[in-house]
């Protein structure tokens, strides 16, 4: 029982962090129907912004994170305007290449500025456990991350469902040409999508490196992006709540498989989780919560 709980809490903990980054990926996918490969690096950059504001400028941590979210959103607005908007949004290949290029550039620039020495990010949540039983520890970090993701998802859902910019966002993502015909300007709407996704990514990055077991360096996002993309695909790429479910399932499968299946070594935990995802996708090609494209003529 104790061991099971320990694995459960471990799975939840890593799952919640996969989920936040997956949410950022889903946002940009909903806006543009493409995977933004630079999303992880933007989140890394955002986590550095928060670190510098909090540690070097001495701004209180939560305020520093909010400022970093705004700062990264402004940066994303610029990237969208200069690098993305000149291209036809319906032609995906050039855009994918651009996000790949961004991935490399951001990573290199961050490395040049901040170096690759790990730094310790300030704690966002109290140290210690909410509840523990032997080796099974439910950490404040896990609970705090989960709570943040839930609040974030509720706010994003309200934003997309109840506001005018949310309606524009959904219209552009549903039918680009028709949204122009009703007067929705695609450029600013997609720019809003980039800003929103990047701000969420910054929050995700701060949450990720705020884990006392992790450290801040310019490479942290590279591994995580793959897990987050897997979580997003599992949940159904266009579903925000699916991203949460996908992240948690990925985390749980990872910790349970390694824990209970003897012949799978530790290092193969995530690989096993990804195999599980492939099996799910064979059965449900749109992911667990993804919307099927329905069209009757």
């Amino acid at each position: 029982m104790e061991l099971f709980l320990a694995r459960l809490f471990d799975g939840l903990s890593s799952g919640a962090t996969y989920a936040v980054i997956a949410v950022a990926l889903v946002l940009i996918y909903k806006a543009t129907t493409l995977i933004n490969f630079a999303q992880g690096e933007l989140a890394m950059l955002g986590s550095f912004f928060a670190y510098i504001l909090a540690i070097e400028q001495g701004i209180p941590l939560y305020l520093a994170i909010v400022l970093a979210m705004l700062l990264s959103a402004v940066l994303a607005a610029g990237i969208e305007r200069v690098l993305i908007r000149p291209f036809d949004p319906a032609d995906h290949l050039p855009l994918v290449i651009i996000t790949l290029g961004l991935f490399l550039v951001i990573n290199a620039v961050a490395g040049m500025i901040w170096g690759f020495d790990p730094r310790s990010f300030p704690r966002m949540f109290p140290e210690g456990d909410v509840w523990s039983m032997g080796i099974a520890r439910l950490r404040w970090y896990t609970v705090g991350t989960m709570a943040t993701v839930l609040v974030l998802l509720v706010l994003l859902t309200l934003l997309l469902k109840k506001t005018k910019i949310g309606l524009a966002f959904r219209a552009v993502s549903s039918n680009l040409e028709s949204s122009g015909l009703v007067g929705v300007r695609a450029g600013p709407t997609l720019q809003f999508g980039w800003m929103l996704a990047t701000a969420v990514g910054t929050l995700a990055g701060a949450l990720f490196v705020a884990d006392p077991f992790r450290q801040l360096d310019p490479t942290w996002a590279q591994r995580v992006l793959i897990f987050a993309a897997a979580a997003a695909v599992l949940g159904g790429l266009d579903s925000l709540w699916g991203a949460l479910a996908g992240g948690i399932i990925l985390g749980l499968v990872e910790s349970m498989v390694v824990g209970y299946v003897d012949w799978i070594p530790n290092q193969m935990g995530l690989a096993a989780a990804v195999v599980a995802i492939i099996i799910v996708l064979v059965i449900r090609p749109n992911g667990l919560f993804g919307s099927k494209a329905v069209e009757r003529v």
Partner: protein, 251 residues
Amino acid sequence: MTDATTSPAGSPASTGKPILQVSDVHAAYGMVRVLHGIDLEVRDGEVVVVLGANGAGKTTTMRAICGLVDTTGSIRLDGKEIVGKKSADVARLGVAHVPQGRGTFADLSVEDNLQVGAFVRKDKEIRSDIDRWYEVFPVLGERRQQQAGTLSGGEQQMLAVARALMGRPRLLLLDEPSLGLAPMIVQNVFRNLQSIREEFGTTMLVVEQNANLALGIADRGYVIEAGRIVLSGTADELSSDDAVRAAYLGY
């Protein structure tokens, strides 16, 4: 506008002032030139139909008006030049376009489709307008929370028309509203268009292959062939024109 073939004064709606003036419009998709100098005019309160065979340039004409294709020449809306404007900006000037294939937001609900149709409006009557369309098309009211993509073709066409009219446009462009619909549904769609015109006095430019039905609700019409206007006149004149009868009416 220089159009020697336009009907003489005296046709029922020719007294309204021109809303749309298209003159010498050329358009191309890349290297393929489709329009070779289109001239046409729509006046306030009129329903004007554009007839023509497949590939004649009917849809391209509509797309040129909406800023969806590279265009040269002059297109004036209420006297204001709109060539070169983006489609969103043309829409904001009061042109609503129901594109071929209807262009519904398939994964948005019926209600959200209507909401987004009113995107550029700032007034407080959006809700009452939506409710009015639910009265006009009760089936849309019954399915307001359903994904638009799950509606039948005829229902989607009505939704597309209602969505376009939610913007309270100066001019409604309808591109082949009968396309892909069963004959009975087509009758129904045109009956609805007729009653919308009677009730709201909406100005419409309709592209249609079903010339019979289209001329039935139109005041005037143009015939387009290979990217040029070859004939124009009142609906009655076109209906009785031998060439039009042979080519488009089938009797």
